[in-house]
Each structure stands twice: as structure tokens, then as C-alpha cells.
């Protein structure tokens, strides 16, 4: 044991390089079976917290949500089985249809715009220029900022009468926009703010993808006379498709969960124009204590995300190029 102790403390320093050499040096006749069992036992021990977490906080709750969705339950009296009543109510619920439409609207507009903008900016930042890391840090900053603070900030900037955005627009002759106050502009306002906030994250993801593309491909193409747009279309985009796929899935999933912005900035209004699915789940579950209906809504959200992800994964073979 003392040799092992000594060896391990040394190994911490030597670690990455020594690998194979050390193994040959220390090789002893393997005691196959028992060692394997011991290692597996340790592995399960290491994973015990995760197994419990899976049971109590991940898979358990998802299954529970399914079960609760077949009941009415206000937490005060025992749950009552109602079969598919919650789901039937859901598809007849005007608010649900509005929330679904708003959430899809938010996603369909914000996800492609965010990805396109991020891709373009990342391609620019991928050039070997001085000070690029500063830009990276600046664009990334809103990602780390508190969503509550940022929502308050944008609500203030969107104020029709004293807001800085309307002031800036007035300088170029654009009349006052009502932003969050007008049902037609409320959702676009939320989308604009969300793009601003999540751009940096996607830029950094794309930047990582771009940096893995071999530089000599570009040099060869440039000498062949390909312009920068051609190079972007013929080299960058195809080789970046795995990253675009990944970023797209992440963006889709997170945009279907949009809630904080609308909760802080518009409370779902005006006239339900920014009511989203998660907002509706929150209201039903924690304002009206309708656990059954809230669970049905959340299970619908889950099923929708699941189906969309599966479709994405299926479709990827058509357009994602893995090197």
C-alpha cells in the first residue's frame, strides 16, 4: 500500500505522458475475475448519487408527471383519477392553443435568426485578427448576465415614452414603437432581446467548430481563386454542419422553455400575446394548484421536444457531414 501511495503522488505530476510505459513496468500477473468485480462494484458506488438522482429528480418525476396528468390534484385533497380529461381539456383550452402558437412563433423566429447571426459573427471572429478575444468576451457577456436583470433592463429600454430605443429610432426619423405594450410587437420585442442575450453562446460554439476546420483547405481554395463567400459556402458550411446540428438542437430545446423574459417583461401580456407553454404550466401548477392539468401540459411539452429531437436526429443524415 505504501508503494501505491508513493506511486500515485508521483503519478499526479507525471500523469499524461507515462501511460503505457508505467503499465509495462508495473505489470503483474492479472487476477482476472475478482479484480473486474471489484472495479464494477466501485463504479456502481461512484454512480450511486446519480442513480438516486435519476430515480428522484429525473426519470421518476417524468413518469410521475405522466401519472399525475391523468388525475386532478390540488395537493390539499387526494388526487382523483380522471383518465384523459386533462388532455381533452388541453386541446379545447383557448389559452393552451395561444401559448402553443406563441411558443412556436418564438422558436421559429428566434432560433434561425440566432444561428445565422452567430454563424456570420463566428466566421468573422475566426479570422486571425488582433483583439478577437476581446470581442469574444464582449459578445459572451450577456450570456452570463442574470436573466432577471437583463429583462428589467430591456423592459426599461423598450419603454415607449422615455426608452432609449425609441429615442435612437427617433434620431433616424422612425416614429415611436410601442414595443412591449402592443400585442403585435410584444413577441418580436422579446425575441430581439433573447437573440441579443443568446448570441454569444452560439458564437462560441460555432467558433469552436470553425477552429477544427483545417486551415490548408482555405489556403488551397484561395489560391484557386475562390472568393470568401465561395469558401464560406463550399468549405465552412459543410464542415460545420455537425456543430450547426448541435447548436440547433440546443437552441430549439431552450427556446421551447422560454419563460423568464415574458414573466418579467410582460407577464404573458398584453392580451396573452407573450403567454408561453412554460408560463402556462407555471400558472396552472403554482398559481391555481392544478397539478394534474399542469402535468398534462408539461408532458405535452416533453413529448413535443422528444419528437422534434428524434426528427432532427433522423434528418441529420441528409445534411450533416461527419468528417
Amino acid at each position: 500500500m505504501s508503494t501505491a501511495q508513493h506511486w500515485t503522488s508521483d503519478a499526479a505530476r507525471l500523469a499524461p505522458a507515462v501511460g503505457g510505459a508505467v503499465e509495462t513496468a508495473f505489470a503483474r500477473p492479472r487476477r482476472l475475475g475478482s479484480n473486474r468485480v471489484r472495479e464494477a462494484a466501485w463504479a456502481y458506488l461512484f454512480l450511486t448519487p446519480f442513480f438516486l438522482g435519476l430515480l428522484f429528480f429525473i426519470l421518476g418525476p417524468v413518469l410521475a408527471a405522466l401519472a399525475i396528468s391523468f388525475s386532478t390534484w390540488d395537493l390539499l385533497s387526494p388526487p382523483r383519477f380522471v383518465g384523459l380529461a386533462n388532455y381533452r381539456e388541453m386541446f379545447a383550452d383557448r389559452l393552451f392553443l395561444i401559448a402553443l402558437k406563441n411558443t412556436v412563433y418564438f422558436t421559429v423566429v428566434s432560433v434561425p435568426l440566432t444561428l445565422l447571426l452567430a454563424l456570420g459573427l463566428a466566421a468573422m471572429m475566426n479570422r486571425k485578427l488582433r483583439g478577437i478575444s476581446v470581442f469574444r468576451a464582449i459578445f459572451f457577456f450577456p450570456v452570463t448576465a442574470s436573466i432577471v436583470a437583463v429583462s428589467l433592463l430591456w423592459a426599461w429600454m423598450y419603454t415607449p415614452d422615455f426608452g432609449i430605443i425609441n429615442y435612437a429610432l427617433a434620431q433616424v426619423g422612425i416614429p415611436k414603437v410601442k414595443w412591449l405594450v402592443d400585442p403585435t410587437t410584444a413577441m418580436p420585442s422579446i425575441i430581439l432581446m433573447t437573440i441579443w442575450r443568446s448570441l454569444g453562446f452560439n458564437i462560441v460554439v460555432f467558433l469552436a467548430g470553425l477552429q477544427s476546420i483545417p486551415k490548408d483547405l482555405y489556403e488551397a481554395a484561395e489560391l484557386d481563386g475562390a472568393g470568401s463567400w465561395d469558401r464560406f459556402r463550399q468549405i465552412t458550411v459543410p464542415l460545420l454542419t455537425p456543430t450547426i446540428f448541435f447548436a440547433g438542437i440546443m437552441a430549439l430545446i431552450s427556446s421551447f422553455q422560454v419563460f423568464e423574459q415574458t414573466y418579467i417583461m410582460t407577464q404573458g401580456g398584453p392580451g396573452n400575446a407573450t403567454l408561453t407553454l412554460v408560463y402556462l404550466i407555471f400558472q396552472n401548477g403554482f398559481t391555481y394548484l392544478r397539478m394534474g392539468y399542469a402535468s398534462a401540459l408539461s408532458f405535452f411539452l416533453f413529448a413535443m421536444l422528444f419528437v422534434i429531437t428524434v426528427i432532427q436526429v433522423r434528418l441529420q443524415t441528409r445534411w450533416v457531414h461527419y468528417a
Binding site: 461512484f46 454512480l47 468576451a137 457577456f141 426599461w156 462560441v204 399542469a294 402535468s295
Partner: protein, 286 residues
Amino acid sequence: MRNPGADMNSIISRRRLGDRLTYAVLVAGGLLMIFPFLWMLTTSFKDMGEVRMWPPTLFPRHLDLTNYRDIWHEYPMAQFLWNGFVIASLSTLGTLISCSLAGFALAQLNFPGRALLFLVVLCTILLPYQVRMVPIFIEMATLGWIDSFKPLIVPAFFGSAYGIFLMRQFFLGIPRDLKEAAILDGASPFAVFWQIFLPLSKPALTALGIVSFVTSWNDLLAPMIFITTFEKMPIALALSFFKGQGEALWPWLMAASVISMLPLMVVYLAAQRWFIEGLTFTGLKQ
């Protein structure tokens, strides 16, 4: 005949133009990113009269801290910050412990069901909190943990899929021979983990720690569900309540927002690399 020299020149001049264009776009974009925060800061110094001025003043007329002082006196701001800090640091501690253990097992140990379990981890990354929150709320209510920090801290000790994935990817990068050799020499897998792998994984732990702290500090939905007493609220949740206290108090709201962002902003300036690497880790490894 093609003249290679002329080609090179045209390529270089095209590049210069491209560089200038790139800088122009990046500077403009960077200003759009940073200006709102400057506007937040500027507004936080103004008084109620000044925020209603048209045209707006770009810089406050007086640089006084009245709003900050008033907020600090009116609300238990120090308490909110402390609550946020306690919740974020303890849940970060839990995440680091549980995720490094599970990540190590998935990357370095052999056991039946390993591939399947990793698939489960990947799938649970796609499973949003919102889908699980009703049953988790009921669990917490059953335990009598509502209106305490426990629902916001304890689950972290049982691992997060994202954190496990991050640690597993990191541990995969360390040669397995290292572990095999130590184990053949009689060290237990725990000793290998604790004495070899943990010291080597400081970069991954830092990145995961920052992600976990930032996420918890900024989280709104979970605290909204579980915390009801004003004095127990973490800063992000408390901030969300200020808006209801009078729509037009923008200087106050902005001052409170600055206070809520300041601690993380300082850390970001010092360690932005870790923020960026941690928060986009899964993207980097795809």
C-alpha cells in the same frame, strides 16, 4: 500566363478590405452588446426627474449613490445576496462532488451497462427542468422542504447530466493505463480517483464550478416555486419582485440590477475564459 505575384497582391488587398469590414461589424455589434449594460449603470445614478427627460441624458447629471443607498436601506439586499451565495456555492459543491465521481466511473472504470448508462446521461440532458418541476415540487412538499434552501441545493448532490457529461469527457482524455497501473499496484479505484484524477482535473472542475454557480445565481424558476418568504429569497428572485413595486421606478430597478450582477461581473472580468469554456463545453467537444 497567370502572374502569381499579382494574384498574391490581389489576395492580400482583398484580405485587408475584409479585415476592415470585419472590424467594423464586430465593433458595431460589440457596442450593441455592451451599450445596454452601460445604460443600466447610467440609469441607476439618475433621479426620477432625470429618467423622464427627453432627449435622455447619456451621462447622469449627478454621480450620486442615492438610489443604491435607498435600496440598501429599504430592502435586505445583503441578505438576498447572501442567500444567493449560499444556495449557489452549496449546489456547486454538490455538483462538483457528484459529477466528478460519476464522470470518472463512466470514463475510466469497466462495468456492465456502462454504454447504456452514458446514453441515459445524454438523453437526460435533453430533459428540461420544466417538464419535471411539478412532481419535484410535490416531492419537496412531501418532505416539508418548501420555503427552505434545500430544494435548491440537495438535488445538486445527486448529479446533473450536463456536469457528468463534462467530467466524463475530460476524464476520457487521461490515458487509461495510468489507472490500470495504479490499480494493479493495489490502489483502490477511489484512491486512484482522489489522488491521481482529481488533482489532474482542476481545469474541468473550475469550468463546471463556474457554470454551476452562474446557473444557480441567475436561476429564477426554481426559487420562484420553492421560496415564499421574502427574507429567504436569493437575489435573482428578489429582483423579480421589485418590478411589481411600481412600474416607473426605473433608477431603483437598475440600481438593484447592478447590485445583483456586480459579484458575477467581477469574476467574469477576472476569469472570462473559464466562463466561456464551461458554458459551451458540450459544444466544444462535439
